[in-house]
């Protein structure tokens, strides 16, 4: 399938990319192309131009917890020192060929409700570094994902980097998903990060994906985990809370109905919290 015609520009720097975006109304950024090229091929979207940011060296580097937007999933999966949930999610996106091209920045900017990284980055309270060329701003995860394929990114802006905190001793995180057997997209994804001090949970953060229009944070499960020892029984009880806490209108399709997804949310939250707790206790 051929996409309809468009112009192509390769940006050498973030500033140049921002300038090109401004100069070309109807243009979109091209990172790994693994969301936008399939859409263009199916003619579900059209662009006047693609601005290729895939070769900008600054966007392709990982420095500590600062991950350049154009780092591929394979790069993120192989990098040491990142939170376990992030490594785990990156190494389970799609298949090896998708991970070789798809980028973390493209994934979150696209904000597919079935994608993996938004859920994890929400649970990890990541910070999103955004640039418009001359001006820059930082948006916390809770404000970044705003709707179905919608984020806080405004016209003319680029996501430059995603920042996560290193996991200190006593903190553990994990990601678990019920995957679509063909594409591996998450029908239900659950991410958890927990901290244990003197045997008791002092901090917990839980997010789910695949269920609502965008990555969604659970306050009730996280609240119920606090002050427990994160034993199997308290994790199981806390995880049950997600079922009622989720909004009424969940996503559902031919792959998995809304009811099935709701039922599975509890199972996958329990798995993610259990694995995160085991890592925190190590």
């Amino acid at each position: 399938m051929y996409p309809s015609s468009f112009e192509y520009y390769r940006a050498e720097s973030v500033r140049e990319a921002a300038k090109l975006l401004k100069q070309h109304p109807g243009a979109k950024l091209l990172a790994g192309g693994h969301s936008i090229i399939p859409l263009l091929k199916l003619r579900q979207t059209e662009v006047s131009a693609l601005i290729d940011i895939g070769r900008i060296a600054d966007l392709r580097a990982i420095n500590g917890g600062m991950i350049g937007a154009c780092c591929t999933y394979a790069q993120v999966a192989a990098a040491g020192g990142l939170p376990a949930a992030l490594t785990e999610a990156a190494s389970h996106v799609g298949d090896p060929a998708v991970r070789a091209r798809g980028t973390i920045g493209g994934g979150v900017a696209h904000a597919d409700p079935a994608s993996d990284l938004p859920t994890v980055l929400l649970a990890l309270n990541a910070k999103f570094h955004i640039s418009k060329g001359r001006t820059a701003r930082v948006v916390p995860a809770i404000k970044f994902f705003t709707g179905l394929y919608e984020t806080a990114l405004k016209e003319g802006e680029l996501l430059v980097a995603i920042e996560v905190d290193a996991e200190a001793r006593g903190t553990g995180s994990a990601y678990a998903k019920l995957e679509n057997p063909a594409s591996r997209y998450a029908m239900v994804g659950a991410a958890a990060s927990v901290t244990i001090v003197n045997g008791v949970c002092t901090d917990a953060s839980v997010a789910v994906g695949g269920l609502t229009t965008h990555a969604w944070r659970s306050k009730r499960v996280a609240g119920a985990l606090l002050e427990t020892t994160l034993d199997a029984d308290s994790i199981s009880k806390a995880s049950k809370r997600i079922v009622k806490e989720l909004p009424d209108d969940l996503l559902g399709d031919m792959h998995a109905s809304a009811d099935y997804r709701r039922a599975m949310s509890q199972v996958f939250v329990e798995r993610a919290v259990t694995a995160a707790a085991a890592r925190a206790k190590k």
């Binding site: 399938m1 051929y2 996409p3 309809s4 015609s5 468009f6 112009e7 192509y8 390769r10 091209l30 192309g33 693994h34 090229i37 399939p38 263009l40 091929k41 199916l42 693609l50 290729d52 895939g54 394979a74 799609g94 298949d95 090896p96 060929a97 998708v98 070789a100 091209r101 063909a182 594409s183 591996r184």
Partner: protein, 155 residues
């Protein structure tokens, strides 16, 4: 507007003028005449178009030819030497790792990348490594055997 791209395909340098919307797979098949790389879907899921781009297995239907400017590409045509098949090709023949053969070029390119990252993959690792490649004929059993056989040959 068209763009001039230069790239190396199976060891040979090429310079071509392309439209931005031209997919790498169409460039390889229609411009260079390398029709060993197949197209099996419109959704980037089947893997029959798998080639190596700078050493990594990628889906050539989901890369623009302009994105491959400056890259080194290897396709199934670049695997065998003039006198002998590549060990993976031999192994697919010996183990009956193909029936209609449509998925085979992509399978072999994905398997080659897998074996480069992991010389002795377990059965589970082979299945995971080939997750992005679909076969509608074999049921995968003999494909896995072929990759195991090739791993021994290539050791």
């Amino acid at each position: 507007m068209t763009h001039t791209i230069s790239l190396t395909v199976n060891g040979k340098a090429h310079c071509s003028v392309v439209e931005p919307r031209l997919l790498l797979v169409h460039y390889l098949r229609d411009v260079l005449g390398l029709t060993g790389t197949n197209i099996g879907c419109d959704t980037s899921q089947c893997g029959s178009c798998t080639v190596h781009l700078d050493g990594e297995a990628v889906k050539a239907c989901t890369v623009l030819a302009v994105q491959a400017d400056g890259a080194t590409i290897k396709t199934i045509e670049g695997m065998a030497s003039p006198t002998s098949l590549h060990p993976l090709q031999e192994a697919f023949r010996e183990e009956h790792g193909l029936q209609c053969g449509y998925c085979t070029p992509g399978m072999i390119m994905a398997a080659d990348a897998l074996l480069r990252h992991n010389h002795k993959p377990s059965e589970a690792q082979i299945r995971q490594g080939l997750e992005g490649n679909m076969c509608r004929c074999t049921g995968y059993q003999n494909i896995v055997k072929a990759v195991q056989n090739a791993a021994l040959k290539m050791a």
